[in-house]
């Protein structure tokens, strides 16, 4: 789908792709431009932890569901050690790279060197993106038990490139990999803003009508209570049972 739109040069919501509504994250009714040339990888070896940490900060995304938010609205930085553990144990890791010029700005200076000759920077434009020379602009991961269920976490796209279908490509990639392994029970926890995004990707409320619940107990009002701080919550650790 991405290749087709790039060739046509604009985005037609065609009848064939009936589920591809233009991705309206901003909520404005406008034709979203097609995504820039990107390289989607599912190889965890392509993840550069420091770039990923920067992406988390740029997207203002936190791994904690209830993060500490400072006065400017920015969430706390992600712990690199824990992030490494999380990625190592994630069943599916999707990373999206693009050429730096699409992120920094479209007017990249034309470099005329002796070697370019007649082509100018045509060669540079035609060369495909690789994880080594591209910038990390999108990420998504999923945790699964490879039998029955899976959960998608931390889907994010560089803010300047949002609304162009990259996020949806990430989710579709994850879903495709899971359905290829016969896993159809795919869940995603999302806040209000993310709900619109996931709905556009084909997610909906549970047909069985289950309620999503999270552990948030913070106090037992007893003297010997132990709490763990997770983001801005202090969660109570249940007491050890002695029988």
């Amino acid at each position: 789908m991405a290749v087709a739109t790039a060739v046509h040069g604009c985005y037609f919501p065609s009848k064939i792709n009936s589920l591809s509504l233009p991705l309206k994250i901003t909520g404005q009714i406008k034709q979203s431009s097609p995504p820039p040339p990107i390289f989607i990888s599912t190889n965890p070896a392509h993840v550069n932890l420091h770039h990923l940490k920067d992406l988390y900060t740029l997207c203002n995304h936190s791994c904690h569901r209830f993060p500490n938010v400072d006065h400017t609205g920015k969430v706390e930085a992600v712990d690199v050690g824990k992030l490494r553990t999380a990625i190592f144990h994630s069943s599916i890791v999707v990373t999206v790279f693009t050429k730096p010029e699409f992120v920094t700005g479209h007017s990249s200076p034309v470099e005329v060197t002796n070697l370019m000759g007649i082509g100018g920077d045509w060669i540079k434009r035609v060369m495909p993106v690789t994880p080594d020379d591209g910038l990390l602009v999108g990420f998504g991961r999923a945790v699964s038990d490879f039998g029955l269920t899976a959960s998608i976490y931390d889907v994010m796209v560089f803010p300047a490139l949002q609304g162009r279908g990259i996020g949806r490509m990430i989710v579709q990639k994850i879903v495709r990999m899971l359905t290829n392994r016969d896993i159809y029970d795919i869940a995603a926890l999302c806040s209000g803003k993310e709900r619109l995004f996931f709905r556009a990707c084909g997610f909906g409320d549970d047909i069985l009508g289950s309620t999503t619940m999270m552990y948030t107990r913070n106090s037992s009002y007893s003297i010997d209570e132990k709490t763990i701080s997770v983001g801005r919550k202090q969660l109570l650790v249940p007491l050890q049972e002695t029988s």
Binding site: S18, T149, R181, D205, L208, S210, T211, M213, Y215
Partner: protein, 250 residues
């Protein structure tokens, strides 16, 4: 006479291994079904075995050699995995009581994950859950971060060596070992419900997860058990966070 020669092609070539207990690691099965997926890293028995090393793909090593600009970073596995392994598998007696017919019943909690899939299937039938394929169930148990079980062991008075061991409860959690965990499949035998056993199972799971700093513990509760989980400290839709599920569109 026309010669009918029919060729039957297997339409869905799914190679299921013979159904055995969970001790068989089924490695062959996975390598047959996903031969080209070098990214897929099988996590075998995370509870009692070391996590397998990440192997870079064959073409990746060729490419990085050719490109000479070798900035590919391989994710190093986390250095210590010992602290997760020992406390994670514990076993102890939760309740011990004497029944009217003088047999002593012990209810044993175990988080080692020794579940017989057939026992679990029978328990699910008792509770009235829909049947799920046994291989999928076995795979799900094997790859869960933690599987907590309750067994009832009955020793009849006067007879030696005649224990009856029965699976009466189970709960499992999947996790990325760092931030998020989801609890699935909480089940207690109907004849043992209402005694606080389910509560004990969940509290153990929560305790184990929080002690490893895994703070986002979530689950998807049926409408009938929302109150049960509320009493355990779970909040429905906290701050507007809801779970969404994928629906295939054709």
């Amino acid at each position: 006479m026309p010669n009918y020669c029919t060729v039957v092609l297997p339409t869905a070539l799914k190679l299921y291994p013979p159904i055995v207990s969970l001790d068989c690691r089924c490695q062959v099965f996975y390598s047959l079904q996903f031969p080209l997926n070098l990214n897929f890293r099988l996590r075998r028995g995370s509870r009692n075995q070391k996590v397998s090393q990440l192997k870079a793909g064959f073409w990746e090593s060729i490419r990085s050699g050719i490109l000479k600009n070798n900035t590919t970073q391989v994710i190093e596995p986390p250095t210590t995995t010992e602290e997760e392994e020992d406390p994670l598998s514990e076993e102890f007696v939760l309740v011990e009581r004497t029944l009217p017919d003088d047999t002593v019943e012990k209810i044993i909690f175990s988080s080692g994950g020794n579940v017989d899939v057939y026992d679990l299937q029978a328990l699910c039938d008792k509770v009235g859950w829909p049947r799920r394929p046994l291989t999928k169930l076995a795979a799900a148990l094997r790859n869960s971060y933690m599987v907590a079980t309750l067994h009832s062991v009955k020793k009849s008075a006067g007879e030696e060596g005649n224990d009856q061991k029965k699976l009466i409860g189970m709960a499992r959690a999947t996790s990325d070992h760092a931030f998020n965990a989801t609890i699935w499949d909480v089940i207690v035998d109907p004849s043992y419900q209402g005694q606080g056993l389910g509560r004990a199972l969940i509290e153990k799971l929560i305790r184990a997860l929080l002690q490893r700093d895994i703070g986002n513990i979530s689950l998807f509760a049926d409408s009938k058990v929302v109150e049960f989980y509320q009493n355990l400290g779970f909040e429905p839709d906290p701050e507007g966070i809801k779970g969404m599920f994928w629906y295939p569109k054709y």
